[in-house]
Symmetry: none
Subunit: 200 residues, 4 copies
């Protein structure tokens, strides 16, 4: 291992440390009440160092979504490969629910809350890995003639993701009182019927 990679490793570790602490604070106090100063104090770094790793406070949120995408690329895509279309859609969105449940209702609530007024629209961007993955499944289903072709794959994907976000939002409003994963599975099974040709 050479010097450069050592530095890189340390840099990555610092960034991850900042991110972890920031997310901790985010879920505890919310975006507005999470102060850059405090993150730095807890992470044992200087304010300058923070801005070396993140271009702005909001960048924390964006990085988090990148983490989600990473999770989907690493774990979800392989998991649904080879499944039947129906199952893979339910599983795919089910794993989105699992991710949210794992992160905890506090953090997810804060993310959904801050999304409403954030400048960036990373959350709903169709370019992200998460929607892309689902779109691919839908398109495969359309090629197989299992999924309706009178609606574009984009439309169907967005409908499904919006529905999923609606359920997660609902779960947040209910303060995580019910099992998100189970609820998501049932609801997606119900809703996805709208897009399949054989409704039974």
């Amino acid at each position: 291992m050479n010097i450069k990679s050592k530095q890189e490793l340390k840099s990555k570790a610092t960034k991850q440390k900042i991110l972890n602490i920031a997310l901790q604070l985010l879920s505890e106090k919310g975006f507005d009440q999470m102060q850059v100063n405090q993150i730095c104090k807890l992470a044992g770094i200087s304010v300058g160092a923070f801005y070396h790793h993140f271009s702005s406070k909001e960048d924390i949120i964006i990085e988090t979504y990148k983490e989600v995408d990473e999770y989907f690329i690493q774990h979800v895509f392989p998991a649904v490969k080879g499944m039947a279309i129906r199952e893979s859609i339910v599983e795919y969105i089910g794993l989105q629910a699992k991710y949210a449940a794992d992160k905890g209702v506090e953090l997810i609530s804060q993310l959904y809350k801050s999304q409403i007024f954030s400048g960036n629209s990373f959350f709903i961007s169709s370019d992200r890995a998460l929607p892309q993955g689902l779109k691919e499944i839908v398109e495969k289903g359309q090629q197989n003639h299992q999924i309706r072709n009178d609606l574009s794959s984009n439309y169907i994907t967005n409908q499904l993701l919006r529905y999923a976000r609606g359920i997660i939002y609902d779960w947040c409003v209910h303060k995580g009182e019910y099992c998100l994963i189970k609820e998501m599975k049932t609801s997606i099974e119900l809703f996805s019927c709208c897009f399949f040709k054989d409704n039974n």
Copy 2:
């Protein structure tokens, strides 16, 4: 009219005046850019008077909730009376969308934002007029054997409302870029198929 009620009347008028101007500013400029000072200047009252009627700036948002049910009782219930089941459901939730569109994306965003962490769960209480009205329609549909009887009226109602809230949330995240009313109509028509016996 005695002295006491005169005072009360004046007090109520002042409160309503503050509320009107505040909501005006809220939808024009957003919560953060809506300044207490400005509200007071426009309302022709002192800052102290504002804080006499509202315990904080955020209180403005909370007061708004109370208007929603009033709107439904006054306008929505009569409007859907006598319609066919399918139409009445679409219309009912469509009017929810209309209400949101009328109020403006800024105000609705604030409502959806503050719901996530509010102590009260106004949104999701089944006791409110809004869900009750929808439930009645669903039950009528079940009695007519148009709507599935294997799912409870409560379940179907909650599904529909949650889906609607999901779309409104999505509309907020998209900063009101698309027409909520049209989107809601199409989406509900799509989704409601899941609950009707004859899916065509």
Copy 3:
């Protein structure tokens, strides 16, 4: 009982109620944090009623001292009548300590704290019943030739009271950790020697 005295009784009761609640708040939160509004809410009266009974917020403090004087006139003066000079001085100031201990360290702390910057000087006024009573004892002692005549009765009285206040202040700083009554007794016995002719 005629109408007038009924009214008077009610008035007195209201005033006492305000005073009790105010003192409760005073000891809990301190003078600055005790709000007139809150007092009124807790007492179930209007703000106007408060200002009917008290000319200002600070008046609460002044009334409290009047209560102290009342206590001394009612209970302390009779109690020390007939005692020997030495005993009566120790007893007199001892009862001051007892009063403080009864009221609790919180309230006394707040009183001592607010005294430092109060506009009124009721606390240290020589005209009050409390210092007058002690002065009489000292003068009696001087006439009996038990107490030094080279110092004025005023001077001795002030020295004793100041010393007593110093001890009470100390007790406050120590958060009432020691027994004020015992400490006061011992200390006054020690200090009062300075003013007696036969020091043994």
Copy 4:
């Protein structure tokens, strides 16, 4: 001198500058009338800089405590070295009075006020330089058989300091109307008799 210490030096200088100006204003106008804005304007810094160095306006008061012991170690200890016991006690406590008088009644009032409810008990800690110095004098006096041995040096020291604080508190309540230094001298001479064997 390296970069780091340069920064540190500048930081310290700024903090000291703020402190000096704040204390100046404090004794001139009192705590409430001393405005953070004004401090900053006079110090030629931004409001943010003030809050970078002090967590609140009250923090100014707290910082002042730390100077007292320094003053005693630097000035008082040398001054009383070699004096006779009686003189040194009077002088020692007299210099405490001089310190208070020099600082001004406003500042000292603030100290005495905030002591009552402060978390730390700086005033009454026996570990500080101030009480330690007095205790040493008392112990020397006991070894010389000038001071009573039936009372512990601790007890006598505490009695004297408490008495002194009582007088300073009284001086504060009287808004510095009389000469604290003269009053302290006379009073300590009077009181200290209680602890000397030859009372004349």
